[in-house]
C-alpha cells in the first residue's frame, strides 16, 4: 500500500475501517438471517416446519420480509411526540451495534477489542439501550406502549445491577477490562468453570437486556399488543426488530468471549480464519440456546423478575465476587 503513496498510519486506519465495515455488515446480515434461523428452529422444536417455501429451505424468506417492510408505509401517528418517537429506534439499533466494537471475532480482528474500558462500555451501552424502549413507549402516547416501557424500567433496575457484578469475576481473574486480554487470559482454561455462577447470572441478565423470551415483558404480545413498539410501523418497527436480534448476537458473542474463550481453540493462533470459525461456533451455540429458551419457557410476571433479580441473582453474584476476590488475593499473596 505504501507504494501507492499512503503513510503507514493512513494504511492502518484504512485497513481498520475496512475491517469495521466488514464486521458491521456481517453483524447486520447475521442478525437479519437470525429471523429465519429462529423461525425454523422454533418450528423444529414445535414439531412443524417454519418458513420453507421461499428459496432454499426458506432462506430467502428474510429477503421477502425485508422487501415487504421497506415498502410499508412508515406511519407516524399524529398523537406521538415526534422527536422521541423518531430517536427511539435509532437508539435501539445503534447501542447494540456500537457495543459490538468490543468483541474480538478472530485473532487480530475486531473493531476495538483492546479498548481499555472494554466491558464497561458494554454495560454503559446496555443501560442506554433501555432508553430506546422507554422513549419509544413514552412518546407513543398509548397505554400498551407505556405499560411496556414501565415494565422495561422495572426489569432494568433488577437485572442491570447484577449484570455488571456478574462479569466482575471474569475481570478480576483476567486483570483487565479489555476483551482481548480476557480472551488471552483463558488460554489455560475457559472461565465458564471457575466462574460458573457468574456465567449463569450474566446469561440471565443478557436475556433480560435483549428483551428476549422468557424476559420479553416489555413486548409481551399476549398482554400488551406489541408492547413498547405497538405504535411503530414500517422500517422503524424493523429497526426495533433487527436491534433485538443484534442484541442476541452481541450477548451471545460476549458470552462466548467472556466465558468460552472467544476465538481460542487448537490452531487458531496460526490461522485466524480457524479462530473465527471457533468464535462463530461458540456464538451460534448461545444463539441456539436463546431460541431454545424462547421455545420452552413461559414468561414470569415482572414482580417475579424483580424478585429473582434482587433476592437470588444479586446475592449469587456477590458470593461469586467475594469468592473470586478471595481466590485471586490468595494466589497473589502466596
Amino acid at each position: 500500500m505504501s507504494a501507492i503513496g499512503f503513510t503507514p498510519e493512513v494504511t492502518a486506519a484504512l485497513i481498520a475501517a475496512v475491517k469495521a465495515v466488514v464486521i458491521l455488515l456481517g453483524l447486520v446480515v447475521t442478525a437479519a438471517m437470525l429471523i429465519w434461523v429462529e423461525r425454523r428452529l422454533l418450528g423444529l422444536w414445535q414439531d412443524r416446519y417454519g418458513p420453507n417455501r421461499v428459496g432454499w429451505f426458506g432462506l430467502l424468506q428474510v429477503v421477502a420480509d425485508m422487501i415487504k417492510i421497506f415498502f410499508k408505509e412508515d406511519w407516524t401517528p399524529p398523537f406521538v411526540d415526534k422527536a422521541a418517537f423518531w430517536i427511539a429506534p435509532m437508539v435501539a439499533m445503534s447501542t447494540f451495534l456500537l457495543a459490538f466494537v468490543l468483541v474480538p471475532v478472530a485473532p487480530g480482528w475486531g473493531v476495538a477489542p483492546d479498548l481499555n474500558i472494554g466491558i464497561l462500555l458494554f454495560l454503559a451501552l446496555a443501560a442506554l439501550a433501555v432508553y430506546a424502549v422507554m422513549l419509544g413507549g413514552w412518546s407513543s402516547n398509548s397505554k400498551y406502549a407505556l405499560l411496556g416501557a414501565l415494565r422495561s424500567a422495572a426489569q432494568m433496575v433488577s437485572y442491570e445491577v447484577f449484570m455488571g457484578l456478574a462479569v466482575m469475576g471474569v475481570v478480576m481473574k483476567a486483570g483487565s477490562f479489555a476483551l482481548s486480554d480476557i480472551v488471552a487470559a483463558q488460554r489455560h482454561g475457559w472461565f465458564i468453570l471457575p466462574q460458573f455462577l457468574g456465567f449463569c447470572t450474566f446469561f440471565v441478565a443478557g436475556i433480560a437486556a435483549t428483551h428476549r423470551a422468557p424476559f420479553d415483558l416489555p413486548e409481551a404480545e399476549q398482554e400488551l399488543a406489541a408492547g413498547y413498539h405497538t405504535e411503530y410501523s414500517g422500517m422503524k418497527f424493523g429497526m426495533f426488530f433487527v436491534a433485538e436480534y443484534v442484541g442476541v448476537v452481541l450477548v451471545s458473542a460476549l458470552l462466548a468471549t467472556l466465558f468460552l474463550g472467544g476465538w481460542l481453540g487448537p490452531g487458531a493462533d496460526r490461522w485466524p480464519l480457524l479462530g473465527f470459525v471457533y468464535f462463530s461456533i461458540k456464538t451460534f451455540f448461545f444463539i441456539m440456546l436463546f431460541i431454545l429458551l424462547r421455545a420452552a419457557l413461559p414468561r414470569p410476571r415482572y414482580d417475579q423478575v424483580m424478585d429473582g433479580g434482587w433476592k437470588f441473582c444479586l446475592p449469587v453474584t456477590l458470593i461469586n465476587l467475594l469468592g473470586t476476590a478471595a481466590f485471586v488475593l490468595a494466589r497473589q499473596g502466596g
Binding site: L44, D47, R48, Y49, L292, A295, A296, F312
Partner: protein, 185 residues
C-alpha cells in the same frame, strides 16, 4: 434460617424444572413433524367430509333431484335456488339448479333434508377461483354421472307416484292400489 432454606429449595426446584423443560423441548428435534405439506402432499379427507356439493344420478343414470325445494328451504344462508319442471312422463326435475359457493357454509343441512339422496357433499375443498362469479355453480357443474353415496337407491322405483313405464302400485314393496268400487255394498 428455616424460611431461608425453604425458599432456597423452591428456587433450586424451579431451576431444575426449567432446565428439564428445556431438555424436553430440545428432544423434539428428533421427533417427526406434524405438518402436512399440503400442496405437495395430498391431504387425507374422510369419506364423510363436507366439501363441494354435487347432484347425483340414480342407478339408471337419470337425475335424482325431484325439485322438491327442501334443500333450499333448509339452507341457513340461502345459497341454493332451483325451479321445478316436469317431463312428459311425469317425472319432476329441476329446470335450473344453482348453488352460490361464495355463500355456502358447508353445513350439510341440504344433504340431510334431501328425500332422494340427490344432493350430496363430497371430500373436496379445492374451490378457489379468481373471479367471484365463478363460484356460482349451475346444474351442469353440479351434476355428476354416478350415484355417489347410497348407490342402489332409486326414488321412482320405491315411490308411489305413477310415471311413464310404472303405473300406480308397481313400485318395489308396494301393494296394488285398492279398487274402492269392490268394497261397495
Amino acid at each position: 434460617m428455616r424460611n431461608f432454606l425453604v425458599q432456597l429449595w423452591a428456587v433450586l426446584v424451579g431451576i431444575y424444572t426449567n432446565l428439564r423443560s428445556l431438555w424436553m423441548i430440545f428432544l423434539h428435534s428428533f421427533r417427526p413433524r406434524d405438518t402436512v405439506q399440503y400442496p405437495d402432499e395430498p391431504v387425507y379427507l374422510p369419506p364423510r367430509y363436507r366439501g363441494r356439493i354435487v347432484l347425483t344420478r340414480d342407478p339408471d343414470g337419470q337425475e335424482r333431484c325431484v325439485a322438491c325445494n327442501l334443500c333450499a328451504a333448509a339452507c341457513p344462508v340461502g345459497c341454493i335456488s332451483l325451479q321445478k319442471a316436469q317431463t312428459e312422463d311425469g317425472r319432476w326435475y329441476p329446470e335450473f339448479f344453482r348453488i352460490n359457493f361464495s355463500r355456502c357454509i358447508f353445513c350439510g343441512f341440504c344433504e340431510e333434508a334431501c328425500p332422494t339422496s340427490a344432493i350430496q357433499l363430497t371430500p373436496d375443498f379445492e374451490l378457489c377461483e379468481y373471479d367471484r362469479q365463478n363460484l356460482v355453480y349451475e346444474k351442469e357443474h353440479l351434476l355428476i354421472s354416478g350415484p355417489g353415496k347410497d348407490p342402489g337407491y332409486n326414488f321412482y322405483k320405491v315411490a308411489g307416484l305413477a310415471v311413464a313405464g310404472k303405473p300406480k302400485g308397481a313400485a318395489r314393496n308396494e301393494a296394488p292400489p285398492v279398487d274402492v268400487k269392490t268394497l261397495l255394498p
